[in-house]
């Protein structure tokens, strides 16, 4: 891979909560338009890594990090929170919708970024819902409360909400952990189609999901990145014995 295809690069990234170190010297490149899976048992630092990408960890008291995160050849620290989070959106573990209408959920992002033109917002809402493949299901009830939707629909609404701010990167923090198999399958199809235009990082507890969806996959264990490889390679001939033990179910 040539350097310009790297969209995010971490250099010796260390993350701490107080005295406790949760990530150790992570050096990981994320390539443009790939789906990077991150697998590993609980407390391996996957979510912390993900939230470090758009600096959401800084909300936590006593959080600090060392090392560098380079986003689009720019040090992440030099990018304002609002711009960074507009470029790097996130989908949380449990579907988290605002207690307003479906339309307002999607329109919120563009609104805070200063889009005032009603037609433009309407257009963005429609486009985003279409890209997240929920337009057909929801187009007739845009004005009804989002909390009344099913979990799967809510989660795809969350994707649409993130797409509406026109990001380059989408982070997923165990996006299917609360969903049934059919909704999960729809989510995975959505991710595969979004890969044409977006870079996606998928943190998941479900190794099978990572093997189905991701192009490359990283294995995190107790704050260290054990290995990163093409997904097919990682799940058939992993370089590290610990990866092999994890994916074959010897622990985790």
């Amino acid at each position: 891979m040539v350097e310009q295809n790297v969209i995010i690069k971490t250099v010796n990234l260390n993350c701490f909560y107080g005295d406790q170190q949760v990530l150790r010297d992570i050096n990981l490149d994320v390539y443009r338009n790939e789906i990077l899976g991150i697998i590993g048992p609980a407390n391996s630092g996957k979510t912390t890594f993900l939230r470090a990408m758009n600096r959401l960890n800084s909300r936590y008291l006593h959080y600090r990090q060392t090392g560098e995160i380079i986003f689009e050849n720019q040090n992440q620290q030099d990018i304002a929170d609002t711009l960074l989070r507009q470029k790097i959106g996130i989908i949380f573990a449990m579907p988290q919708v605002l207690p307003v209408t479906i339309y307002e959920n999607v329109a919120y992002g563009p609104m805070v970024h200063g889009v005032r033109d009603k037609h433009r917002i309407e257009q963005l809402v429609e486009e985003s819902l279409k890209k997240a493949f929920v337009w057909e299901e929801l187009k007739d009830r845009l004005r009804s409360p989002a909390v009344k939707l099913s979990g799967g629909q809510q989660q795809r609404l969350c994707i649409a909400r993130t797409l509406a701010i026109e990001p380059d990167v989408i982070l997923y923090d165990e996006p299917c952990s609360g969903l049934d198999p059919i909704s999960t399958a729809k989510m995975e199809d959505t991710m595969a189609l979004l890969a044409q235009s977006y870079t996606q990082i998928l943190v998941t507890n479900n190794t099978k999901q990572a093997s189905r969806v991701s192009h490359r996959c990283a294995f995190f264990l107790m704050g260290e990145m054990v290995e990163v490889n093409q997904t097919q390679k990682l799940f058939t001939y992993p370089d590290d014995q610990r990866t092999d033990d994890y994916i074959t179910g010897k622990f985790g």
Binding site: N54, L56, R59, L61, D81, T82, L83, L84, R85, Q86, G89, I90, F92, Q96, V97, L98, P99, V100, Y108, G109, M111, V112, H113, P145, V147, R161, T162, I165
Partner: protein
């Protein structure tokens, strides 16, 4: 019915009876005040000034005075109380300074109201030269109301789920946008409740207005914020203790008006709250 079922029935019956005990004083007080004071209630009582050593006529100036004091208190305490609570919950870092502020808010609510009265007299009436006036009285009542407003607002803000803030910030909103669109709208019902509670307490206080605004007998309406006014609680105190041969029904009727005023405020807050709940469901 088995033994556990019977025990549950006994337990709930006791709980129910004790809850009834809470309601009883309120009902009794209201009943007592109405039964003793209703006969003195008339249009003239509500709209005329007191006459003949306050033994006749009405209490109109006192009603106007109390309403003005409530409005004045609200003007000062609402912005300061709500904005400082927003700052404390949404912006302030957890450091020594913030903890000191929080501690003083808690302690402020423990100060007896007469001390507020003395403080208001010294600061507003004498030092700042407002004189005994609506301005000085409102400011004193406002300071007294602050702790309850701040505490209620803080609790209402903290009750708004963290996830709303997280969603908003993750979409690239600024912290102010997050507060403005994803926190405050959902906290308003709770803020209203606490605010009205503290304002209705302020409406009924005698001690803080004793030295700062209340007039013993002033049968005309105020012309500016630097005028003294009569106020219902102080008027009630005066006619019950300082005027010999006062017909008791007049005192009770005055009390009834004060209760009615407070109930009216509560009613307004209930209506507003219902309105906001309907708009923002969560």
């Amino acid at each position: 019915m088995n033994a556990a079922g019977i025990r549950q029935k006994i337990a709930f019956t006791i709980l129910g009876l004790i809850t009834l005990l809470v309601v009883a004083p309120i009902v009794l007080i209201i009943y007592y005040v109405i039964s003793r004071g209703w006969s003195a209630m008339s249009w003239e009582f509500l709209t005329a000034a007191p006459r003949n050593g306050m033994k006749e006529g009405g209490i109109f100036p006192a009603i106007v005075g109390t309403v003005l004091l409530i409005v004045g208190t609200m003007l000062f305490s609402l912005p300061v109380g709500i904005l400082s609570a927003v700052y404390l919950v949404e912006y302030a870092k957890d450091n020594l300074f913030t903890r000191l502020i929080k501690l003083s808010v808690v302690n402020l609510s423990g100060i007896p109201s007469i001390v507020y009265g003395l403080f208001g007299f010294t600061l507003f009436v004498v030092f700042l030269g407002f004189g005994t006036s609506i301005l000085a009285g409102s400011l004193t009542l406002a300071i007294m109301s602050l702790p309850v407003i701040i505490t209620a607002t803080k609790e209402a803000l903290e009750a708004v789920p963290m996830t709303y803030r997280e969603i908003s910030l993750s979409l690239g909103a600024t912290r102010w946008q997050t507060v403005r669109y994803c926190v405050l709208p959902y906290a308003i019902p709770g803020i209203l409740t606490g605010t009205v509670l503290s304002l209705s307490r302020a409406a009924g206080e005698t001690a803080p207005i004793l030295f700062t605004v209340a007039a013993f007998y002033l049968p005309r309406l105020p012309r500016s914020v630097f005028d003294q006014v009569m106020a219902l609680p102080y008027h009630l105190y005066v006619i019950s203790t300082q005027v010999p041969n006062m017909p008791a029904k007049l005192s009770f009727a005055t009390g009834l008006v004060l209760i009615g005023l407070v109930c009216l405020m509560n009613l307004v807050s209930i209506v507003l709250r219902a309105h906001y709940r309907k708009k923002k469901q969560w």
